[in-house]
């Protein structure tokens, strides 16, 4: 297990390095200049900015310097904002994005599982149809539309929650719901399919034949086994939620990392693009890593021999 973990860790680092290098190359190849403005900037002003941010040096030197800084967890300054460094951006924004994502995920898992289980147990009856209608709405209605609807009713018309910003726990409810609908629907559908499959398995029939209570069979045998595919996708789902809340963060004025990435790209703010890419990649790599380990723990059939293949 230790060897497996260490090996996976090594590959995680290599992947991260590859991401940094590729992003660095792409960033300097795409058209657009961080200092471009309407009208040409006087050459002296442009030159001063280049010198100030070290962009006058050869690309290889810039790359080397950047790697050295990253190793020391220094992601540099933002080219567009001297008031906040990339480190500040991350330290401030990441916990917020993580909080929003975690809250959305808890809602998604909790209600998604309930809907999926209920749908499978009441197959082709109204609870099934209702659950699946909710699931279809969750998947097909984009979260920014849902967010607008939620704001319109819960904030403006009924005045139950505030419209936007991230000051109190009330502020977190609407964005969490908006963000959770898609994964909730996804989990519900997957859980339903998985449950139906498991419920038809021989060991369930055996358990029933042995005279076990229906609720016991469902909870102890069916749900537990049906959870496996959910756990498999949970890593990616978590990463998607934590890193994919750009629009929700923007609509609700949440000071997370979402806008940092989007604005970084549109402003050609190199340190911001690199910093956010590194954080997002690290989150993804970490979650995939955790899921791999969790998988081996949950399903004893999967052994940690994969690395020898």
């Amino acid at each position: 297990m230790l060897r497996y973990t260490l090996n996976r860790f090594k590959w995680a680092i290599i992947t991260l390095w590859a991401v940094i290098t590729l992003t660095f190359i792409i960033m300097h190849t795409i058209p657009g200049n961080p200092f471009a403005k309407e009208g040409a900037m006087p050459p002296a002003v442009y030159e001063n900015l280049q010198v100030h941010y070290g962009l006058d040096k050869p690309l290889l030197t810039q790359y080397g310097n950047y790697l050295l800084e990253v190793v020391q967890f220094d992601f540099g300054p933002s080219l567009k904002s001297s008031s906040i460094s990339v480190n500040d951006y991350i330290l401030k924004g990441f916990p917020v994005s993580l909080h929003l994502g975690a809250q959305a995920l808890v809602i998604a898992i909790f209600f998604g599982l309930i809907l999926g289980v209920v749908a499978s147990l009441k197959r082709n009856k109204w609870p099934d149809y209702l659950s699946m209608i909710i699931a279809i709405v969750g998947i097909s209605v984009p979260n920014f539309i849902l967010a607008t609807i939620l704001i319109n009713y819960f904030a403006i018309k009924w005045n139950i929650f505030p419209v936007a910003t991230w000051a109190t726990w009330q502020h977190t409810i609407l964005p969490s719901i908006a963000l959770s609908m898609m994964p909730l629907a996804f989990i519900a559908r997957l859980m339903r399919t998985s449950m139906l499959e498991v419920m038809g398995q021989d060991y369930i029939l055996t358990a029933k034949a042995k005279g076990l209570k229906r609720s016991g069979v469902i909870i102890k045998h069916a749900i537990r086994n049906a959870l496996l595919p959910i756990i498999t996708i949970l890593g990616i789902l978590t990463a998607n939620i934590v890193t994919g809340s750009f629009i929700i963060e923007r609509i609700f004025g949440i000071p997370g990392m979402g806008d940092m990435f989007v604005k970084g790209i549109s402003n050609r703010d190199y340190p911001v693009i690199l910093g956010s890419t590194i954080v997002y990649s690290a989150v993804l790599i970490l979650l995939i890593f955790i899921v791999d380990i969790a998988y081996t723990l949950i399903d004893p059939r999967i052994k940690v021999t994969g690395e020898k293949k």
């Binding site: 471009a36 403005k37 006087p42 100030h52 001297s82 975690a102 936007a164 109190t168 004025g253």
Partner: protein, 544 residues
């Protein structure tokens, strides 16, 4: 068994509540931000939205509107502007201009203080301007100080700091020497790059502007709280000389980027001012007669660049034909929908002429006429040895409103001239790059004037920094030169009127409309006004 089922449910619910509680516990309550005056103590607090995190609240490093709105309320330059746009003394009490227009002597008011209580002297102005020009500062707007003698030389490392034309001769006197006569220099002194900075504070702590605790300013308000990416707060500055006229106790700035969200916050009462407004909301409000709706003038023009170095757009007749074949009124009323004014010139209304308003005196410099346009297009193409327009596109930066306008223009050219144009969108930075490289046929552009003078819209000088059309005309150049050489208003304005006429006659750009500044103010808020070249100002606002 049932018990365990419920315990799982209970556990999950508990986790959710814990997550919610964790967040809520550490933060302040929302009462302060929501509705009314907000504060239980009865103090007057205005709630506005700044659209984005300010890049810097240091006058030398600020780059645009997200900074300027806050700086304009926390700092004050030598001059300031009234609601009517009149330039009045700010930190300066009076000034004298030498006959040749090159030497300006400002006398500062007595007893001026910084928000930390330090005395403010002319040295702080000299220091600030030179600091912005220092190459190591790498200030974006350093070129705003190129009007000073030796300013450009110092910024481009060709000159010395001591040769820059600004000198505090004593604590109250600032002597400014300019490179050339600049009648609008007074206007510039109210711009944020010309604000003073506290020399002592800057030298002791170069990072003073990054934190509300160390931020020091000289304006009606002072920065007291800055939660990065969330909000910031300014409070009345007790050390401001005119503090008795300031009625607000504090202003909260939310930092919400999404215009729709900000608008919803205004509707729910969480904001007192909504600016900018979403385009479709503007459309609904313009003719609604809503008492909270205001539509101020804006010092800006929306236009299309022709790449005059590409055939057949090198031909003035072709350019004029395209310009005459669109219906600007239809665009402003049905597409832009912000009460904008169709542009038949390039200088927007609201700029004083020698007498009256410059734009009103100019009138319309051309007409829309589809039949005439068709004829001109044919002639122009023939002159270039062409029968029809080759494939060409309108390049615009990705934004829904630009797309809609481009689509409208596309349709009008199709209907009126039988011409097909494709639309091409690009990110803003990419569009700028392509314009600089001349890699376009027609590109969308806009220009917001830096100061209230027609000169700020005279962008098409040969090799001028903003001349993306690549147009060159000797008469235009010499008229601008003439205007720059004199301080005599009538002579200047005549030259500038002529220059605008010459430019529009050849039409290297296609003017579309003059911007407006639509915004909403709650009816219990008074004293908010929108200067032509700034965001709505609430220095003297009051809230009931």
């Amino acid at each position: 068994m049932k018990k365990s089922k419920f315990s799982v449910l209970a556990l999950l619910m508990a986790i959710m509540l814990m997550l919610a509680a964790c967040n809520g516990g550490s933060k302040e309550t929302s009462n302060e931000k929501e509705g009314g005056s907000g504060d239980s103590s009865g103090s007057k607090v205005l709630n506005v939205n700044n659209s984005s995190e300010p890049g810097s609240l240091h006058p030398a490093n600020a780059q645009g509107t997200h900074e300027s709105w806050i700086l304009e309320h926390t700092f004050e330059g030598l001059t300031k502007k009234t609601e009517e746009g009149k330039i009045v003394p700010g930190s300066a009490e009076s000034w004298e201009i030498s006959e040749d227009g090159l030497t300006w002597t400002f006398k500062l008011k007595d007893g001026l203080k910084w928000s930390n209580g330090d005395p403010l002297t002319a040295n702080d102005f000299e220091y600030a301007w030179k600091y912005a020009l220092k190459p190591e500062t790498a200030a974006d707007y350093a070129y705003q100080l190129y009007y000073l003698k030796g300013g450009e030389a110092y910024n481009s490392k060709k000159g010395k700091e001591e040769d820059v034309g600004v000198k505090a001769t004593d604590e109250h006197t600032l002597v400014v020497t300019l490179e050339q006569p600049t009648p609008y220099f007074l206007d510039l002194t109210s711009f944020y790059t010309f604000y003073p900075i506290n020399k002592k504070v800057q030298e002791e702590n170069p990072k003073w502007a990054l934190d509300a605790k160390t931020h020091v300013s000289n304006g009606p308000f002072k920065l007291t709280e800055w939660k990065h990416k969330e909000s910031l707060k300014i409070e009345k500055n007790e050390n401001y000389y005119d503090k008795d006229k300031i009625k607000l106790d504090a202003v909260n700035f939310a930092l919400i980027e999404d215009e729709n969200t900000a608008w919803q916050m205004y509707q729910s009462g969480e904001l007192d001012i909504a600016y900018p407004l979403p385009v479709d909301v503007q459309g609904q409000l313009v003719n609604s007669g809503d008492k909270e709706f205001k539509n101020g003038a804006e010092l800006a023009v929306y236009y299309y660049n022709f790449n005059t170095e590409v055939k057949p757009f090198n031909n003035a007749k072709v350019r004029k034909a395209l310009s005459m074949a669109i219906n600007r009124k239809e665009i402003t009323e049905n597409v832009a929908q912000g009460g904008q004014k169709p542009a038949f010139g390039v200088v927007p209304p609201g700029i004083p002429d020698a007498t009256g308003d410059f734009q009103e005196n100019t009138g319309d410099l051309f007409e829309e006429n589809a039949a005439e346009a068709k004829k001109l297009l044919k002639e122009g193409l023939a002159e270039e040895g062409m029968k029809e327009l080759p494939e060409f596109s309108i390049l615009y930066n990705t934004l829904d409103s630009h797309k809609k306008i481009a689509e409208a223009v596309q349709g009008m050219w199709r209907d009126n001239l039988g011409v097909e144009v494709t639309l091409e969108n690009a990110e803003f930075q990419v569009k700028l790059d392509r314009e600089k490289a001349g890699d376009f046929e027609i590109s969308r552009a806009g220009w917001v004037g830096d100061y209230v003078d027609p000169m700020t819209f005279m962008l098409w000088e040969t090799d001028g920094a903003y001349n993306d059309a690549g147009w060159s005309n000797k008469e235009y150049d010499s008229l601008l030169k003439e205007a720059k050489s004199t301080m005599e208003p009538k002579e200047r304005m005549t030259a500038l009127h002529k220059a605008e006429e010459v430019m529009i006659e050849e039409m290297p750009i296609l003017p579309v409309y003059f911007y407006t500044k639509p915004y909403m103010v709650k009816s219990n808020v008074t004293g908010v006004y929108a200067p032509i070249n700034a965001y709505p100002n609430f220095i003297y606002a009051d809230k009931k």
